[in-house]
Assembly symmetry: C2
Homo-oligomer: 448 residues x 2
């Protein structure tokens, strides 16, 4: 087993013993990246990586020929050298991880593969940037934490919404005390995914009501979670920004949550009402466990409350439903409005834009041009950039293994709470008490 | 004890026995009203009653000379005969109830008086229109129900937001299946009440940080609930419209809730930061039990979820935060936007106004002119009008004793849930199973 020590430069341990930097990545001007999973999401990352000058994509892995072809075309189009391709079986990723020309991996595979792949990569000393999803179990989150603590291989949780421009501006406001002491935050994932979860099998979105083996792209695997699980299946986009604003795992932590689920009718209705579906379509018999609206209330050690909404099966406009509220003011994204005591008209909303511009985060000011054209309004540039820059500079990841475990575990905890009739469920402390002394590091300046 | 039977005209009981109408009020062209409590809220009702031609205000009651004077001036200004005044003690209301020139009472007193006064009025056969508030206990709600079931004296819960124009339009949309089968609804009471709960003692709002004996108007009594209780103290404005839309107590019911409370810092900060306050002000030592944000999730028998927010101690614009969501679409009031599948642009909000106008409720179309100038944007006209018209026509009250008990009890149930760390708490069924067969009656047409 190849083993590397990823420690901070000149870390001082105990009575002044200095350990020199032994991270080989910091001695490289160019990182060799492997991308595991080049489907819809992985292709986006591949495009960003191919455009960078500090990265060579040396390997990719997928089991789907169609998407491997898409990746090859993208590489050609951008005039880069074709990476080595690992494919042919669910285990092919192991060969990629073992490839000596791979320093670090990006994992953008179906959800249930994230942890096994990340754990194996960490164990082989390959730094990990892993895509977001909810957990399949609490134990799975501990596996991730244990693998990191055993190997100290860097791992970054690619929660891109933490880097959304308005979110980072509001984070800046939070840190500059615009809202005063925080009391309540909201977020969620309110996104009509019916045409993602159900499609024709020949196109990525919609055109039919198939899923599983007959579906394409995410419908092949993601939909099964809606069939079998009633939980906040996708908490990270809502909760990630809330965690950076409330310093979760860094002076604060989530203590417990309770979740409640509505009826689940959206996916069934979509199947029955679709021109390619109907009440006699085989999928009309499928019982979807997932409630259409899953609401979760979380409490923090510092006595804030957090509200998350998961809403993916009904016709609705996209919204992450953010709200940040404190002793001095409140911001909401649904009306993009703000209220700060003593500013603007009393008891009236003001448009948030002037303040969002005023508090634009230094990172966005610096990298605005680089981010242009990157996925999801530029967020994807930042999350990948942070991962790579931290690797090169041997700095701790701004969204680390504890953040990953904390965000992911909400899925399993909400599942348990719903199964128990909305009983409160306690959060594991993945830091084992270190949240008390750990300091915030996310986006403190314009570096990454 | 004066005893009246308020039964429906020609009600047929059992095997065809017809009971003739014995409600004396329906034989009157003019109702004699007593108003118990003519403070800020009661004066509003008094003004509406004095303007009506089908009502004589024969008696008023209060313990505060200042507001009794305000009432007398209002009567003079409107050229009406001065009502008999009951005053001088907390028990004066009993004399008003016993006044033979009073047919019905409006109760707009401090919260803890609502139930004892309403119960006594019902027992004396005086019809009751009682203002909204949360319960002090579950038992209190049962007392209200028992008094009604024993006496059958009509009682209307004066939940005015049920009559808000946009709310009634959306109710109309719900009934016309615009949103399809409902899945999730939100509402609340998000209103910066700091200057209501804390004032100078010489003005109604603000100007100081006094409450209790040194406060004026609501600060004299309402603030004590924020000192002593951690609960959704004021659920009715948010939940009332949700109940009419989901047919609670009429084919549906609330089964259980869970509540969570944030830290409570808003009122303390206001005292400390106020020019008339400061850290040495006696009230700076007061510990307020009420969390600034109290969030409550409710589940219904028909598998909808309901989310309520109570937010009254922080600087923020007023909002009741409504959201109505179903299988076919969603409306929110914070951005006054709507999305209905197949209408407007896909995945994009549309302004709600055109549809709100299209579905304007028949009641508002009919009474728009009468409502103009009435309190709270006209809502107050409708809720008082419904009470009086139902009395005159001997019809069942559209917001009845079961609705009152169900809305009010949320306060006590949320208090229990919070005290137990967000444990779910079961709703009493105040109808004792009759919710299964009771039919919706609220605002079915343009009558009331």
């Amino acid at each position: 087993m190849e083993r590397r020590d990823f420690v901070k430069k000149s870390t001082i341990i105990g009575a002044g013993i200095t350990i020199l930097n032994t991270n080989p990545l910091t001695q490289k001007s160019n990182l060799n990246l492997g991308v595991i999973g080049v489907g819809a999401r992985g292709l986006g990352h591949l495009g960003l990586l191919l455009r960078r000058t500090d990265v060579t994509v040396t390997a990719i892995c997928d089991i789907d020929e169609f998407t491997l072809n898409s990746a090859a075309k993208m590489v050609d189009k951008l005039g880069k050298k074709q990476p080595k391709v690992y494919k042919g079986s669910d285990e092919a990723y192991k060969e990629l991880i073992n490839d000596k020309n791979v320093d670090a991996v990006i994992i953008a595979t179906p959800w249930h593969w994230h942890v096994p792949m990340a754990v194996e990569a960490m164990q082989k000393g390959k730094a990990v940037g892993v895509e977001v999803c909810g957990s399949t179990s609490v134990e799975e989150c501990w596996q991730l934490v244990r693998a990191y603590e055993t190997t100290k291989t860097p791992i970054m949780f690619l929660e891109n919404v933490c880097y959304r421009r308005d979110i980072m501006s509001v984070l800046n406001m939070v840190r500059k005390d615009v809202f005063g002491e925080l009391t309540h935050l909201q977020g969620g994932y309110e996104h009509d995914l019916r045409e993602v979860k159900l499609n024709s099998g020949t196109q990525w979105y919609g055109g039919g009501v198939e899923f599983g083996e007959k579906g394409m792209s995410e419908a092949r695997w993601r939909t099964s979670h809606s069939v079998s699980r009633n939980a906040d299946l996708y908490p990270t986009h809502g909760v990630g920004p809330i965690m950076t604003m409330t310093n979760i795992n860094r002076g604060n932590r989530f203590t417990h949550l309770t979740s409640m689920s509505s009826k689940g009718i959206g996916l069934h209705n979509h199947i029955v009402n679709h021109p390619k579906g109907g009440k006699d379509h085989p999928n009309a018999k499928v019982k979807f466990e997932l409630g259409d609206i899953v609401t979760t209330m979380i409490r923090t050690q510092n006595d804030e409350t957090v509200l998350l909404t998961h809403d993916t099966n009904l016709p609705r406009p996209y919204s992450l439903g953010f709200r940040v509220q404190g002793a001095k003011g409140i911001w909401m994204d649904i009306n993009d409005s703000i209220y700060v005591e003593g500013k603007g008209k009393s008891h009236e909303w003001s448009p948030a834009k002037p303040m969002r511009d005023e508090y634009d985060h230094p990172l966005w000011k610096k990298y605005e041009k680089d981010a242009t054209g990157a996925g999801h309004g530029g967020m994807d540039f930042f999350v990948i950039n942070a991962f790579l820059e931290c690797l090169k500079n041997n700095e701790p990841m701004p969204l680390d293994v504890y953040d990953a475990a904390t965000m992911k575990v909400i899925t399993s905890l909400s599942e348990e709470s719903i199964a128990k009739g909305s009983q409160p469920v306690v959060f594991p402390d993945f830091t084992n008490g270190r949240w008390i002394t750990r300091k915030p590091i996310f986006a403190l300046d314009d570096r990454y």
